[in-house]
């Protein structure tokens, strides 16, 4: 299977197999004008199977969101067909407007213009809590 190489753009690599579609949705990539390739179940020596997303344009991507969904991803920035930067992702300490508090008793449910902020309170179990009401975030995946 051939996917054209990218001139300028972003490659999200080492996505855990099965998570690419969710990441595609959460990053809002369907709104982009450029070509976006989702490659699923690619053979990987390290992971067995992995997914890859290739974005054929130099667009900003939300590293916090990617780190929250899949902290083992790597992000490659391509310029003039060359890899100019390879970023490893980790679980972000804070998430701003990435996930939203679902507690109906939380102030975020009524206060206008209030950012939804979650803090990583348990790294091992990947638990985030709302900074206002301390409600645990539901797992995205």
């Amino acid at each position: 299977m051939n996917i054209d190489s990218i001139v300028n753009g972003v490659v999200i690599d080492h996505i855990s197999a099965g998570k690419a579609m969710k990441l595609y949705e959460l990053l809002g990539l369907e709104k982009l004008d450029c070509s976006v390739a989702i490659i699923k179940n690619v053979h990987s020596n390290r992971m067995g199977k992995k997914d890859i997303i290739k974005i054929d344009a130099d667009v900003p991507v939300d590293f916090d969101l990617i780190g929250y969904v899949d902290p083992d991803c790597t992000i490659n920035i391509i310029k003039n067909e060359k890899l100019i930067e390879k970023k490893t992702i980790s679980l972000p300490e804070e998430l701003h407007n990435v996930i939203f508090c679902k507690n109906p008793r939380c102030i975020t449910s009524v206060e206008r213009g209030l950012e939804h902020v979650f803090k990583l309170t348990d790294k091992k179990n990947k638990i985030y809590r709302c900074i206002y009401c301390e409600t645990k975030a539901e797992q995205v995946l």
Partner: protein
């Protein structure tokens, strides 16, 4: 700017300092009756709570200060749709310190991020109520003279009862504290409190449905009300509200120096016959609420002044 949003915002040393100031106020109230002259406390109560509001107002008036505010959202600009942040920015211009109660969890924290004066959380829904916990701590301090080596029974609504969760969090910093958790199955202490606070801090606890089972071991018995407003379903409330009623009979096996506490108001979980037992300290606890709030207002105002 220093605020009090969560009881754990205060260090153990600061809690000791507040208890010492409160004790000094109790011993020599005249010394303090003008220390907040020309200072204004705003009480912003977006939901009614007569007891807490009056205790704050009484505290400020006893310090020689003035009070202003509202006692329900309908009489504030919140009824016109104003945000918490805007209300607090405005009231910051009219007052030196704000005590705020709000039905939404985290509202006082939002206030603290925009306020130009200290914010005291006077209760945010079922979340935090740190001045109630300070009241409880002062009562323990005065009745027992220590915060270590205590067996504390907490009885009633342990699921929704924020005072219990905050008390457990506050006591988790002291040595050799054992909790006896007495509740019906439906109102048991949430597992996250057991896991994140009790197990994490190596606290010993024992769960039982029987109020009498460990009565003889308790140094403190903390009774709570089964709160109607925390239920979504009236049937569940009616079925559970009378689960645990403390009577003089039930105190037969209790220690002579047991301290019976209750955040009040009570419905019928403590029979009125218990009120005259010297171990019943819940009205002394109410009085302590005024003194510890006086100490807190003084501390936060002093720190705010030093910042300027």
């Amino acid at each position: 700017m220093r605020h009090l949003i969560d009881i754990l915002d205060l260090s153990k040393e600061e809690i000791d300092e507040l208890c010492e100031t409160a004790t000094d106020i109790i011993n020599d109230p005249d010394k303090y009756n003008e220390v907040c002259k020309h200072k204004i406390l705003a009480t912003l109560f977006f939901e009614p709570s007569t007891r807490t509001r009056l205790s704050f107002e009484s505290a400020m008036l006893s310090l020689g200060g003035e009070v202003l505010g509202f006692s329900e959202a309908q009489s504030s600009s919140a009824a016109k749709g104003e945000s918490v942040a805007d209300t607090v920015r405005t009231v910051s211009c009219y007052s030196d310190i704000i005590a705020m109660r709000h039905p939404k969890e985290g509202a006082p924290f939002v206030a603290s991020r925009v306020a130009e004066v200290p914010i005291i959380n006077a209760g945010d829904g079922g979340h935090n109520h740190p001045t109630q916990t300070l009241t409880d701590l002062l009562t323990i301090h005065r009745e027992k003279g220590r915060f270590d080596d205590l067996t504390i029974g907490v009885c009633g609504d342990l699921k929704f009862g924020r005072t219990v969760h905050s008390l457990i969090a506050a006591m988790s910093r002291y040595k050799n504290i054992k909790f006896v958790l007495i509740s019906p199955d439906e109102l048991k202490l949430p597992s996250y409190v057991k896991k994140d606070i009790m197990q994490k801090n190596g606290m010993e606890y024992y769960e039982t449905r029987d109020l009498l089972e460990k009565m003889g071991e308790l140094d403190i018995l903390y009774m709570t009300r089964v709160q109607r407003e925390r239920f979504f379903n009236e049937e569940d409330y009616l079925r559970l509200k009378d689960s645990y009623i403390l009577t003089l009979d039930k105190l037969e096996t209790a220690k002579k120096d047991l301290t019976i506490m209750h955040p009040l108001p009570r419905v019928n979980e403590i029979a009125t016959e218990v009120d005259t037992d010297p171990r019943a300290r819940y009205f002394a606890q109410v009085r302590n609420g005024r003194y510890i709030r006086m100490a807190l207002i003084l501390k936060l105002l002093k720190e705010a002044e030093n910042e300027h």
